[in-house]
Symmetry: C2
Subunit: 706 residues, 2 copies
């Protein structure tokens, strides 16, 4: 399935480093040094016009002279020379090229031009490129190391790391070396002239040594493809991401509540949720999670046991578990009796199990064993500050065989950073996740739980999300675009929503007070009146809405009031009269909105509506089109959605109709990239079985950017 060129990148039969140097301060030296030091079993070739030898190996004067086998080239040549080098690689039969050198778009226009040429030539020749301006890649199991990272190289491991920053790779490798864990593969994608993080997700997951993928992301070019590829990869291998370059929400001029609340961050969150990617808040957290996901079985539930030799750390872990939505397991009587039999009298055999300070390594191992056989325990955190009578390494050694044999996750916290270091190293070597603080162990256990729950619920029905584009709707949009785009008329808005089965109240226009009164009489009281103006979107802001009109006189008076208020508030606006609609039964009012994110396309918002939506921010976002499970989850993430089931004297509303409306709305905006912004506010959910009605809506169309 994966392009065989990735074999040439990760397990080539031969590698040439072009532009090697004798100067240890140069890139071309670091690359050669690491490749040789990695123990790479294939052929290693060096190229430099000066020839000679480097690290005891011959240096070829040019690429054509490189002997077989050679499948991967790593270029350390000056930027200006890379295009020629690329051509020479192609001529030599090389299809995989890493451009480590800098001097491209990161330094300005001139470099950008070279980079564009590099990408163009690579595409023409069918050569795939990682970089430029990257530190390259490594695979610790082949092994191969085409980076110029400071030694020591990372040790073999189960975590694949794909990074938009080479410096972050350097920091992460040094952190991992200090903490005793390793990597399966690591790739720094640099400027991504050709291959992107998305392209490398599949190859990272295909590696049988990879048990988890960690991503450091600054942005992605093709959002929908990233979501699609990552979503498929994360069904096989858990994917974690640290996404940086956060832009606060609501920075844009707000033409709708959705526009004010949505932003790149809400789109990223929605994208990660859709793709099943767990988003970490920082690097340390991401690798805390990664070790657990790489090394532990998934827990079958949320009930955890804590095993400790002191109260304080146990309380910290308990707090932290609860904060993450996990619970302390209720230990069975049998478990408690068995613990009682081996523990001192003053020990606590309820969860957290406190064995007291004198607990021996053997006691740790035995108690852990007892907790693991309790069917109500889904995972265990084992804690030990430097114990007074034993060494942390003795504790670690006793725990390791029990933890490794377990079918439930066991996470350890040897608490400290000095006396515990040897024990911590033993645990890392044995692939038992170990943490410096109880909070980190609890956070990692929660990541395991989320992974298990996501796998259990992830929809397998990927095929059902095809386009459902309505021809009638397209005509409406086409006409609006022909007229220059912008906000649709109320009639066009209604027709668009109705084409997707979204109910709107009958809406009729009146140009005078008398006409309005007559219309209301025919419609039946009470009615609602709204000012009719193509220039006013937030009608209630200008006094342009009046509810519950019960007589023809009241309607006539309201006509003057509404149009007058609108004129006063917006002197330049065109006022066409008013719209009337029957006043509907009471219900719960919510908001559904959509805006288009430049990276991920349409994102849909759901939440508390009304004028206060922006203040309360009781909203959730998802990518359009929404799968049903995700629409349901958006309801559950908001108070607006939760209370549809009723709360105190608030009667239940037609929740199913809200779900259906949200799904239809998400299909509408997914079908038509021409819809730049849309909002139903409020959507009134009537009593159960009575449906939901879009009381007001606005839709803006524009020619799609792409």
């Amino acid at each position: 399935m994966t392009d065989p060129v990735f074999d040439a990148f990760f397990s080539p039969r031969g590698v040439v480093v072009v532009g090697v140097s004798q100067d240890p301060a140069k890139l071309g030296y670091g690359l050669a040094r690491n490749l040789v030091a990695s123990g790479y079993p294939g052929a290693i070739h060096f190229v430099n016009p000066r020839g000679g030898t480097l690290l005891g190996r011959p240096v070829q004067p040019n690429i054509p002279s490189v002997p077989d086998p050679v499948e991967l080239a790593v270029l350390a040549t000056p930027a200006a020379a890379t295009v020629d080098a690329l051509r020479a690689c192609h001529a030599r039969g090389i299809r995989a090229v890493i451009v480590a050198s800098g001097g491209f778009k990161e330094v300005g226009a001139e470099g950008a031009a070279i980079e564009a040429e590099l990408a163009k030539v690579a595409a023409e020749l069918g050569v795939r490129v990682i970089g430029p301006n990257c530190i390259g890649l490594l695979d610790t199991h082949v092994p191969i190391d085409t980076t110029f990272l400071q030694p020591p190289a990372p040790r073999p491991g189960e975590i694949a790391f794909v990074s938009h920053s080479g410096a972050v790779c350097g920091a992460v490798v040094d952190y991992a070396n200090g903490r005793g864990f390793g990597f399966s593969r690591m790739v720094s994608v640099g400027n991504q002239a050709d291959l992107t993080e998305t392209d490398l997700l599949g190859p990272a997951a295909d590696d049988p040594h990879t048990k988890v993928i960690a991503l450091y992301l600054e942005s992605v070019g093709a959002g929908p493809r990233f979501v699609d590829v990552a979503g498929r990869v994360s069904r096989r291998v858990p994917v974690l991401a640290l996404k940086v370059g956060r832009s606060p929400a609501g920075q844009r001029a707000a033409a709708s509540h959705t526009g004010a609340l949505a932003g790149a961050e809400s789109a990223w969150d929605a994208a990660f949720r859709r793709a099943g990617i767990q988003r970490a808040d920082g690097l340390e957290e991401m690798f805390d999670w990664a070790r657990a996901l790489a090394w532990c079985p998934l827990p079958a539930g949320r009930a955890m046991a804590v095993l400790t030799n002191a109260g304080g750390p146990g309380v910290i872990a308990t707090d932290s578990l609860e904060e993450h939505g996990l619970a302390l397991a209720a230990l069975t009587d049998a478990t408690q009796r068995a613990l009682r039999a081996i523990l001192p009298a003053a020990a606590s055999v309820a969860n957290p199990v406190d064995m007291l300070a004198a607990a021996s390594p053997q006691l740790y191992a035995e108690a852990l064993g007892l907790l693991l056989v309790d069917a109500g325990v889904h995972g265990v955190i084992v804690l030990s500050p430097p114990p007074p009578l034993y060494t942390p390494e003795a504790i670690a050694e006793a725990l390791i065989p029990v933890a490794k044999a377990a079918t439930k996750p066991v996470l350890v916290g040897l608490l400290g950073a000095y006396l515990v270091n040897k024990g911590a190293a033993l645990l890392a070597e044995a692939r038992v996740p170990d943490y410096r603080f109880p909070e980190q162990a609890a956070s990692a256990l929660a990541a395991l739980v989320r992974r298990g729950e996501w796998l259990a619920q992830v929809p397998q029905e990927e095929g059902t999300m095809g386009k459902t584009r309505s021809e009638a709707a397209w005509e409406t949009i086409e006409q609006a675009l022909a007229a220059g785009g912008g906000w649709l008329s109320p009639e066009a808005t209604t027709s668009l929503l109705e084409a997707y089965g979204i109910r709107m109240p009958r809406l009729q226009a009146a140009g005078s007070a008398a006409q309005a009164a007559e219309l209301a009489r025919m419609m039946g009281f009470p009615v609602v009146m709204k000012v009719a103006s193509p220039d006013i979107t937030h009608k209630s802001d200008v006094g342009g809405v009046v509810l519950d009109l019960r007589t023809t006189d009241a309607v006539a008076a309201a006509f003057e009031k509404v149009t007058g208020a609108a004129k006063a508030a917006r002197p330049g606006a065109r006022i066409l009269g008013v719209h009337l609609q029957p006043m509907l039964p009471k219900g719960q009012e919510v908001i559904a909105g959509a805006v288009r994110d430049p990276q991920f396309g349409a994102q849909v918002m759901f939440g508390s509506g009304g004028v206060e939506v922006e203040g309360l921010k009781d909203v959730a976002f998802g990518l359009a089109p929404l799968p049903r499970a995700e629409a349901e989850e958006m309801l559950e993430r908001t108070w607006a959605g939760k209370k549809l089931r009723g709360f105190r004297d608030l009667v239940p509303a037609d929740r199913e109709a809200v779900v259906q409306t949200l799904l239809a709305f998400s299909r509408l905006v997914a079908d038509f990239p021409e819809i730049a912004e849309a909002e139903i506010n409020p959507l009134r959910a009537l009593a159960e079985g009575q449906g939901a009605v879009a009381l007001d809506a606005r839709i803006r169309v524009a020619k799609p950017a792409g």
Copy 2:
């Protein structure tokens, strides 16, 4: 000011360890070993009935034989022997005793009885006790170490640590030893039979070496005293706390919205805010903050510079700064020009300043110096993953003199955990805070900013918060208590609130439909009707409230409806008729509530009112009585409070009247510990200058527990 007994604890002229042991596995050995190893300059005495020598020193057979000087005793005797030992200490002239031994209330009733006796005898004799069941205390500057922690002991430092858990002390010391920072004083308070964390705050702050106090808390006995003492201490020395044993809010049966939303956690947060204590989410975070607060000057503002040798770490730091409410400083042209003159052409001289990977230690130092002289920069984060051409220790050495000379905070992130370790140790030795990840540096910088801002705004007018207890109110409460307590009648509630200047609508009772109609006619339409029942608190939940009655007929009909609905919903409830009040002008509705926390007394809640208050949780808590600044801050922390200034078409309301009502309400509940629970819901804030009116309120009184 501080009791001189604390000198006997922290800098005694002589110390006796009672119950020393030759067995390295015993407490009595560990205590002796650490005291000797600490280099304590006073007299060291050992007591054990067997006599002999230990660590080359004589062992006295009993306490009376201990020669002068001796001011502090550390007991490692069995629990049952501690009371006699305490008496012997007193007879020997010792007023300060640490009981390290366990076997007290932590092991059950028998131990608890011994502990009670110990406390009683200590109080009788005027001996002060730390413990029992504690690891003791240490001061690294005296130096003295009366703990039995595993060596190595902590190094001298500026952080005082007071802990409810000895095991957490052990973990924290090992962490600090690994990270290269130290402590001024450390105390484990154990079971707190006598001295508590609150008693030790003053002594910790009095130590001239202490620059910051860190607390690990599980609970405090006397909440108001803790808040008072900590509040005074934190004006001098910053105080940080990790509070564990979180109990989720809203667990109690909810008799009011406030009762449902308030909990121990909201009270702790309010207490910490009042006392100026910064609450950390975990141990690592607390010590990340502590190092910065101990070692750095406070920033004059929120504009920060980031100096890095690579883009990725700079982006991470920027994100993190923004997440904490800090900003990137806009560098002056002069700064940018000066940076341009020393940096390579491709470097970025805008903030974050990226010097590129080849940046030398000298360049780091020079660029840092340039950033520090920019008046718009209030603090700097300096980042370096292991650099390719230099050692991290060379970077550290170059940075240290510049950072130490600065009048602005400089926080460093040598990113990694292996190659960077030597550089990190140099920074810690020089008291320059250093972090493994950029996120941690940003979090610590934010803690510095919060400290500076708190010091700038903390009210100096402590005397103005005295009791304002109203006699009229006391009579009302006394009567209700005499009748067994419980919910006050509407009349009593009104009278209580009015005694504190809180406006209520005129409220009149009617026992029949005809009486209600007549009353309404006299009152003037429209009116509001509420069922009158001492047994129904949430009246709207039972259909017991009708608004906007405009005719006598409507009033009469509503009487039947309201009383009928209440009877149907609560068959057992006493229905006395209805209450009528004039319907008020529109406004914004908020909630004010109060409940009594067992640790901290009355906590006041403010937020979004209405039936949805429990769902939206748009509420803030504070301790009663509220200082004005804190009441204002509670408004600013909620959307309900923010929107009082107006938002879109929501007209501004009388915010000042809301503040005054909240202050008065907080005085009421502070004045009367007999008020167990009170709630104004809704409090309607009328248009500006029109005041605020408590539309509905309920108050429950009960004999105070204490």
